[in-house]
Subunit: 400 residues, 2 copies
């Protein structure tokens, strides 16, 4: 049968690729600590569920294509707390951050165009790119220097005539990097000089432990070029709601993107009601959640430092880090941990980082770790990882 | 700014294009009977809301990318009632029928490929096609002969080397046509002879008033080629849930399409819980709903027949019909109805049918009417339409 090349060539998500091995391990009774996926264990604020339960409607009708007006207003109010000013026609509600990203890519790039992205990056960027025939031109950043951006001149080398946008994640998945004011300024200049859009995925905006989140909003020259991709998934631990948004001061772009929203009719009605309430959550919620993640970050970082040969920077935001392991193939090691290793009936699953790079050969010895488990579980997971790594190395050495 | 051509060239939905005129009319205090949009007024079964209210979870987590296993099982059980046998890996849950259609198109066509579709067709088919750079090669059907399919030879003229699939809606939106056993057989033969997939949008499967719904499932030779696009939106009057599905006996295709599902993570978690309950709704629900729609269909059809110069076939299924009006421009007429006409402070909104055709010039004098209003409102709407048409014709005649 003639399936399309774009779907045949689509890579399996590195986060979900090794799922069959974890299913098999669980079937054998092993307990798995999942460091591979960014599914937080934090409770979703109660208001989400109660507002939906109370909103009982007789007919579950389509909502507006642009989004529920109440949710749009709540989103505007939320952005105000970051000094980001948006008007009603500058916000679109989407099916998760995923659809927001897809719409941003489709609106800025035709087939054969490309976007530059600092690698390692969230693997769905290439996934969405390839199904709509957009290529990724990577700007490589490295574990050894904390995944900081290269100079403007260095980044410009990845730009060609077909480059239409810069895509970034800030705070960064999978690196945990928060871009400095200077880095944001550099990206803005790059966009102006090369006539590019900036697609800024800021779904981890609240998750800042060191340093400070900087937005593009204060840089006047770039206002028309910035497209904010957002989501309530991580912010309020509501991944299953699938409510995201696009925000841009470029009204012309938003009018074009609204046509994409109209094509798929609307985002889910009830979940938008819940999301509206979530945006009214008091800021004390974030203080508590952040303190929790900061403790977890510290547990993970200190634990990794304690393992021989592991190279790892201290992540400043989001809830991931990339660690370089003293082995050749992280994928082989992750499979080993699932298939062959256990400590008191337990093991650890991580995401091999190769899938977060688009330069061939990069990230083979790296893993992405999500610190979405409580401290006690994280400590156990680190103990297992350390023991597993020793065992794996000794097996590999004996095979030499 | 350099927006993509695919978004600049994207046509506005004919269903929503004239929305600004209706907003203006409402602001002036006019009541509008909406025959332009397929938003049913039928109550959503109570079980949808209660199951969601009772399913209170602590963490609203991602659901499976393929779909909630309970919903997949409920979908399988539902298909069994139509003698359509599917296994667990032959179903994917999507963000509405919209995403199901998008995934089916992406999986079968690369940019520059095309699909053949009997026109008039649901306008989102071209919308989704154009954002992923798939062209539509239309097979024209006509109001005068009840929108029946042409012969196989005639249809084959629309096929070329780049044609990858046949897309149909059965029962049909916007025509209300239900394909006969012979027509389904002809489409199956066409697919085999020209190596095409069949993307069959069957979201109106329950809405059959005359004749009988036929599925492709009994035609062995075509099993691997059929992709069923489905949705709970109309079936259970749950348009706002955004729960759809793809079903196909082609496991290889479904494995490829699962990668698309993984890319966007999952469909909304709570709405899947509600959808699972909806699929358990007793068949007596459909009997009542169908009897209601059949009465409405009769009211609309008889009313239209009663208007001088209107050409309209009796729709056998779904809840739409296309009517040819004795005027030159349906769009101009619909704008007239919203801006200039009223009967006791009320008017009617319809969808100009030109946007449901891809052959230039077709459908200019036609409108799509959705019979989603109760009988009394439908009768009023028809009275207003009749009076508006007379008034419009007399103005046009006086201008000659």
């Amino acid at each position: 049968m003639n399936y399309s090349s774009r779907v045949k060539d689509l890579k399996t998500s590195p986060i979900r690729k090794l799922l069959p091995f974890s299913i098999e391990a669980k079937a054998k009774g092993k307990k798995i600590y999942h460091l591979n996926i960014g599914q937080p264990d934090i409770k979703t604020p109660e208001s989400f569920f109660t507002s939906i339960a109370n909103a009982k409607q007789e007919v579950l009708a389509y909502s507006n294509s642009q989004g529920d007006p109440d949710l749009i207003q709540a989103t505007i109010d939320y952005y105000k707390t970051y000094n980001m000013e948006f008007e009603k026609d500058e916000i679109l509600i989407t099916n998760g951050g995923s659809e927001a990203l897809l719409f941003a890519l489709i609106s800025t790039c035709d087939p054969g165009d490309n976007v530059i992205i600092p690698e390692p990056f969230y693997s769905s960027y290439t996934g969405f790119g390839s199904i709509v025939n957009i290529e990724v031109s990577p700007v490589t950043t490295k574990a050894e220097n904390g995944f900081r951006l290269p100079t403007k001149e260095e980044m410009a080398k990845s730009i060609n005539k077909k480059t239409k946008a810069i895509v970034i994640s800030n705070p960064g998945n999978p690196t945990g990097v928060i871009y400095t004011k200077e880095e944001i300024q550099t990206l803005a200049e790059l966009a102006v000089e090369h006539d590019l859009f900036i697609i800024s995925d800021e779904v981890y905006r609240e998750f800042v432990y060191d340093g400070e989140y900087t937005n593009f909003n204060d840089i006047e020259e770039v206002k028309d070029r910035v497209i904010i991709v957002d989501s309530i998934s991580k912010r309020y631990s509501a991944c299953g709601a699938r409510i995201g948004s696009v925000a841009s001061k470029n009204k012309e772009l938003m009018a074009l993107m609204l046509k994409l929203c109209q094509g798929r009719l609307c985002a889910p009605t009830l979940e938008q009601i819940g999301a509206t309430e979530l945006y009214k959550t008091p800021s004390s919620y974030f203080e508590k959640v952040n303190a929790e993640y900061k403790r977890r970050r510290d547990v993970l970082y200190n634990g990794l430092k304690d393992i021989d040969g592991v190279i790892c920077h201290k992540p400043a935001g989001a809830f991931y880090t990339i660690a370089k392991l003293p082995i050749e193939s992280a994928e082989d090691f992750v499979i080993f941990m699932l298939k062959e290793f256990e400590l008191d009936g337990e093991t650890v699953m991580m995401a091999p980082a190769e899938g977060f790079y688009s330069t061939p050969g990069m990230g083979k010895d790296e893993v992405r770790l999500a610190y979405v488990l409580n401290e006690e579980d994280l400590k156990k997971a680190l103990k297992i990882l350390k023991a597993g790594l020793e065992k794996y190395k000794s097996i590999k050495n004996s095979q030499k």
